[in-house]
């Protein structure tokens, strides 16, 4: 079902990681990315893996939840692995026709797979699982804040992002509903050629857009009625504060 696509699957829990400032986490993810791609030795890899495990324990998020974040990239992971295995150079281990498996190839493939896995696990852990999308948006707004002096719409960008995230599940539900309604009228989305499938999409996309515009209009009115008037003078319930934990994490 479309409704099962999980975007921004926040896992509510009370942990050190949940309490960290989202800005710290955002920067943490960026630093982690750099580290992962700099790490060449097995020792460095193991250290980063250990760090990830520590983070998982700290976050109190079940391991299964963290691993499920890998599902969407499983295909890419396998593809990259296979590609690397066959394209490496070095000592030849096995030959299958034009394809050969080499020691270098296997090392690169494993390193690539571990890197991708760690990368995804850390991003989902630090950002999607322990931080609500609104917090991420807030963090981006704050980090990009200095740019607004040069006319960069940091607040608007962040507001747009969080509203978009809020409406993803609603629009997915709606898409499913419209597809069912059109199927009841004889539309067929499963069989037929590319062209007839594309034509079929029209019967879904038009009602979806019409309803999205209607929703946007309603939402704008509702926001205005709740005194929304842009970023100026706005405060936050969860105002972002660096704590000693943030400091410790940053140093770490």
């Amino acid at each position: 079902m479309l409704g099962n696509i999980s975007l921004g699957r926040y896992y509510p829990a009370d942990s050190l990681l949940h309490r960290l400032d989202p800005r710290t986490k955002l920067l943490g993810v960026i630093i982690f990315m750099v580290l992962i791609f700099m790490a060449q030795s097995v020792a460095a890899m193991l250290l980063l893996a250990a760090l990830t495990i520590v983070l998982i324990i700290l976050s109190k998020v079940p391991v299964k939840q963290v691993l499920s974040g890998l599902k969407p990239i499983l295909f890419i992971l396998i593809f990259a692995f296979v590609l690397n295995i066959f394209t490496g150079t070095g000592k030849e281990w096995l030959r299958l026709g034009p394809l050969k498996i080499t020691d270098q190839g296997v090392y690169t493939a494993i390193r690539m797979a571990v890197r991708l896995t760690l990368l995804i696990m850390n991003t989902t852990l630090l950002l999607t699982l322990t931080t609500t999308p609104v917090m991420v948006a807030d963090a981006m707004e704050k980090l990009l804040g200095p740019l607004s002096r040069f006319g960069f719409p940091a607040h608007e960008m962040a507001m747009m992002m969080s509203i978009a995230l809020r409406f993803v599940p609603t629009l997915l539900e709606e898409t499913e509903k419209i597809m069912k309604a059109q199927s009841s009228r004889g539309a067929d989305y499963d069989t037929g050629g590319l062209i007839s499938k594309a034509k079929g999409l029209v019967s879904v996309l038009i009602p979806l857009f019409v309803s999205a515009f209607k929703r946007a209009e309603d939402l704008a009115t509702a926001m205005e009625a709740r005194c929304y008037r842009g970023g100026e003078g706005r405060t936050r319930m969860k105002s972002l504060k660096f704590t000693s934990a943030d400091m410790a994490f940053a140093i770490f």
């Binding site: 309604a181 939402l219 509702a222 005194c227 936050r236 969860k238």
Partner: protein, 606 residues
């Protein structure tokens, strides 16, 4: 008492590019007393929602003034103070939630007001506690039910510490149980918090809760007074296309038939109306009762209200057979929830089959099995002899069994109304002549004017769009028509019109399956009724078999149809009165028949 809102002779037009200004509110004056519950009643398009937007300074009056808590809405500097004083809850639960978690959404208003973070935390927690959503604070809002979403909207306003709450058709998209629940919360806020409430609605039951009622029509206030005073003017309310409480309606109809007078406000209460009916029956002259009966008998032939007048279904041939059906969403995960549990029943050719149950009782899951949108996980569903578990059969089933979802106007997409209605027939591979014929025939049944056929469906009004959507299914000439809440969100006149198609189609031999929250509609229209409760069959049979035990119905979150309940009250005084009638008209018919029979018996004894 202090006045929180004063509207003085306000006129407002909607102005759209290159179009005539549209008069929405016409010389309206009204005052809202602090701490009171005011209802504004009116049909769709009567200007009542515009009035709400004017109070909240979302629109400015063309003429006249609106003063909210001492501030003029036309004054730019007080707009934000007015909006934090008067919070507004809108109709569509999904389209007013901003936050990605419940508490973030509640914090949105206070954040806009620039409140201190620590104070926001306190008001958010308080507001959530008041509406009973504290436990949901961390959940994403799309996982809440419709009723919970509307309560969340109230919480978002309470967190701004308002003095006044405007409900703009906030219950229109809720089922009766959530609606009652929501109104209970509103009543509690009035007594506990002293909040002023303006409820804009077309639901008669909600109006009965108010202290003061204004009725609007074509932008004007046409009636005002207490609920009892308003509904005492039965004729006027009906003319405006609105509902009257069933007991008042019965008493009024009876007084007309028996040519008796009603005293002012006498029928406002259930008991009062029953007493008035008794008095009128005893005082009526035999000639008038007999004459009334004769005219009624003539009318009965047109009336589908009572069981006797209904033609028997053509045959007892089963067109849909459901056997040992089970269905669980997200089966095998921690999110698993059982939607259907051991469901067994049959639907016969030519009958109007009602399906009724609280939200989440499995109605929607069940009907999606009827054309194979959902396949049985366990058990079987056969439609016209084909199994919905077979891919090759599903295609045939979908040509014969039309399914219309709630708010079907959202599925329109073609360039013209004609093309949209023709979408289904085209998919069936019919030739152009046949398609033309079918589109025109479907448009005629649903009352769509010829000149609308070449217009874009998106230019039409809400009611017209729904007719187009229904015509789109009818043009496929289904043998079975499944209607999921076809009248949801419509005002009483619109509802009656849409439901009349259901009975018309039944007359034409189509098997109609009607899903509804409304006991009244189902009892009045259906040949047989299926009651679902938590995914299981709670009762199944004719209305007379199903609507018997008030307590048993209450277990499924349902109540006795009002007309039948009223006759039941009357039968305590009138021995031998039949109670199996479901419309005010049929009930009055029965009361008069009872009186005429009584006279006859007395004469025979003499």
């Amino acid at each position: 008492m202090s006045r929180i809102v004063e509207i003085d002779n306000v006129t407002f037009h909607y102005r759209q590019h290159q179009q005539e200004p549209l008069l929405a509110v016409d010389r309206v004056s009204l005052q809202l007393e602090a701490g009171r519950h005011t209802a504004v009643l009116g049909r769709n398009g009567s200007g009542k929602s515009t009035l709400a937007r004017l109070i909240n300074a979302l629109e400015r009056p063309d003429n006249g003034t609106i003063v909210v808590a001492g501030m003029k809405t036309s004054d730019d500097s007080s707009v934000w103070d007015i909006r934090s004083t008067c919070g507004m809850v809108f109709q569509n639960p999904d389209n007013q939630i901003v936050g990605t978690t419940v508490e973030e959404d509640v914090a949105f208003g206070p954040e806009n007001l620039g409140m201190e973070p620590s104070l926001i935390r306190i008001s958010v927690d308080e507001a959530l506690a008041k509406v009973g959503l504290s436990e949901q604070a961390q959940r994403p809002p799309h996982l809440l039910s419709g009723g919970q979403k509307q309560k969340l909207a109230i919480a978002g306003i309470l967190a701004m510490k308002p003095r006044c709450l405007i409900l703009d058709e906030s219950t229109a998209m809720l089922d009766p149980v959530s609606r009652r629940d929501f109104m209970d919360l509103v009543q509690k806020l009035i007594t506990d918090e002293g909040i002023t409430v303006v409820n804009i609605t077309h639901h008669m039951e909600e109006v009965l809760l108010a202290d003061q009622v204004y009725v609007m029509d074509k932008g004007r206030i046409v009636l005002q007074g207490s609920p009892a005073e308003i509904f005492d003017q039965v004729e006027k309310i009906k003319e405006l296309g609105l509902d009257v409480p069933v007991h008042m309606d019965i008493a009024w109809l009876l007084s007309k038939q028996l040519q008796q007078e009603l005293k002012p406000l006498e029928t406002a209460t259930w008991e009062g109306a029953a007493a008035a009916c008794l008095r009128m029956i005893e005082a009526s002259s035999p000639e008038i009762a007999a004459k009334a009966l004769a005219t009624l008998k003539k009318d009965t032939e047109m009336n589908t209200g009572s069981d006797a007048s209904r033609a028997e279904p053509n045959s007892s041939e089963a067109v849909i057979t459901v056997k040992d059906l089970y269905y669980t969403y997200s089966k095998g995960t921690t999110m698993a929830s059982e939607a259907l549990h051991d469901v067994n029943f049959e639907i016969c050719r030519g009958e109007l089959f009602g399906i009724i149950g609280h939200s989440g009782s499995g109605k929607s899951t069940l009907i999606q099995h009827f054309n194979g949108l959902i396949r049985p996980q366990s058990g079987t569903v056969h439609v016209l002899g084909w199994s919905v578990s077979q891919n090759s059969d599903v295609k045939k089933i979908r040509q014969k069994a039309g399914l219309l979802f709630q708010y079907p106007e959202h599925q329109l997409f073609e360039e013209t109304v004609f093309q949209d209605i023709a979408f289904g027939p085209k998919r069936m591979g019919l030739d152009t002549n046949e398609i033309d014929r079918r589109v025109l025939a479907a448009a005629e049944i649903t009352g769509i004017d010829q000149d609308l056929l070449e217009r874009s469906p998106f230019e039409l009004s809400g009611g017209q769009k729904r007719r187009v959507a229904i015509a789109g299914i009818l043009a496929m000439k289904p043998e079975i028509l499944i209607l999921d809440e076809p009248a949801a969100g419509l005002d009483p006149a619109g509802r009656d019109e849409i439901l009349s198609y259901a009975s018309q189609l039944r007359e034409m031999g189509v098997t109609v399956i009607l899903v509804s929250h409304s006991m009244e509609d189902i009892a009045r229209l259906a040949d047989r009724v299926l009651v679902l409760k938590n995914g299981s069959v709670h009762a199944c049979g004719s209305p007379n078999e199903v609507f018997v035990d008030e307590d048993y119905l209450a277990q499924a979150g349902l109540s006795m149809p009002r007309a039948r309940a009223f006759l039941h009250t009357m039968s305590n005084h009138l021995n031998g009165l039949q109670t199996d009638h479901y419309t005010p008209e049929a009930a009055v018919n029965e009361l008069i028949r009872y009186r005429a029979d009584q006279r006859q018996n007395q004469q025979e004894v003499k």
